[in-house]
């Protein structure tokens, strides 16, 4: 992984960073690179309430905020920004306001790398709108001063249309941090981990490949 000046991570939901990106974030932090994580919402509309329910619609964001902070602490992120938008409404916000929000952060932080979702290939409307806002902000910059854009894509057609990911980060050295980050988002991930043992994460080749390799597509401007 190249050494970066500053990494800006922009996702809409607490836990969006956990599965596909937390190993990459942890590696940058270990390299001494400052990382800013701008999380647009608190995942207020999450659906996992448990059976029997452990929380309700109104208390879920309080839980997810704590989980997000805990995950950031595990990763060593010193600049965690909660942007105050609401889950499932990101695409309905004013596009120019969204672009400006990202542009201001880019001006302030001067990142050499931005990590976000690949618009068109990231399934959830909030993911799409977040990625699109980042792309618009970067597109406004002169081509020579743009930061690198590494995008997460996972729609069913992403490989067919984008080709294979051009960036694959092996994060095995920090896999333990990544697993602890995934677990920190307990309200969202506990059910999933009920079926995976500690042993699996060290010996099951399929699970290890899933945990250890983080895939990104460099955004292609048209």
């Amino acid at each position: 992984m190249e050494k970066e000046r500053h990494v800006l991570v922009v996702f809409p939901h607490p836990d969006d960073e956990a599965f596909g990106v937390s190993g990459t974030i942890a590696t940058h932090i270990k390299n001494g690179t400052p990382v800013t994580y701008a999380c647009l919402t608190l995942g207020e509309m999450g659906r996992n309430m448990g059976n029997p329910p452990f929380t309700n619609r109104e208390n879920l964001p309080k839980i997810r905020k704590k989980e997000l902070q805990a995950a950031a602490d595990l990763l060593g992120i010193q600049d965690l920004r909660m942007m105050g938008l609401r889950d499932k409404t990101v695409e309905f916000e004013d596009d120019d306001k969204m672009t400006d929000m990202i542009s201001f952060m880019i001006q302030e932080l001067n990142p050499s790398l931005i990590i976000t979702f690949y618009p068109g290939y990231s399934v959830h409307p909030d993911h799409e709108a977040t990625g699109a806002a980042v792309i618009r902000a970067v597109e406004k910059m002169p081509a020579e001063s743009r930061p690198k854009l590494h995008c997460v894509a996972f729609s069913n057609n992403c490989v067919e249309e984008l080709g294979e990911a051009d960036i694959i980060n092996n994060i095995a050295p920090v896999a333990d941090i990544k697993i602890s980050v995934i677990k920190a988002h307990r309200s969202q991930t506990e059910q999933m981990f009920a079926d995976i043992t500690e042993e699996d994460t060290k010996t099951n080749p399929r699970i290890m490949a899933w945990i250890n390799n983080e895939r990104f597509w460099t955004y292609k401007f048209k």
Binding site: M45, N48, M49, N51, P52, P53, R57, E58, V123, N156
Partner: protein
Amino acid sequence: MEPVVVQKVQEAINQRANQDVYIHLETTNGAYASHNDETFFSSGAYIRNALVRYELGKITGDGPYRVGLKIELGWVYAEGITHFEIDEQNRLLMAGHDFKGKLAVALEISNTPFE
């Protein structure tokens, strides 16, 4: 939240009738429903902080339950309610959870705006 006790929910609905209340109403299949199953038609609706006044409200059914509120010029309705709670702010929170504990519907009634 606890499983619906019809009498308790009905009392709570009655206590909030004939006054200005804020409503949160949502239904959802989750944002990944069509991603996980491309034959699935995903839909949902959501309204937060609708200010209404209902003259009559009822919980019916054998569980999962239905809740309807008759407002001045129309209706508010939710189906699939399984759980309820009266929270520390005296709000009546009702929700329907599927077998995996995922929220599918919510109807909440509050005397003050939701955050």
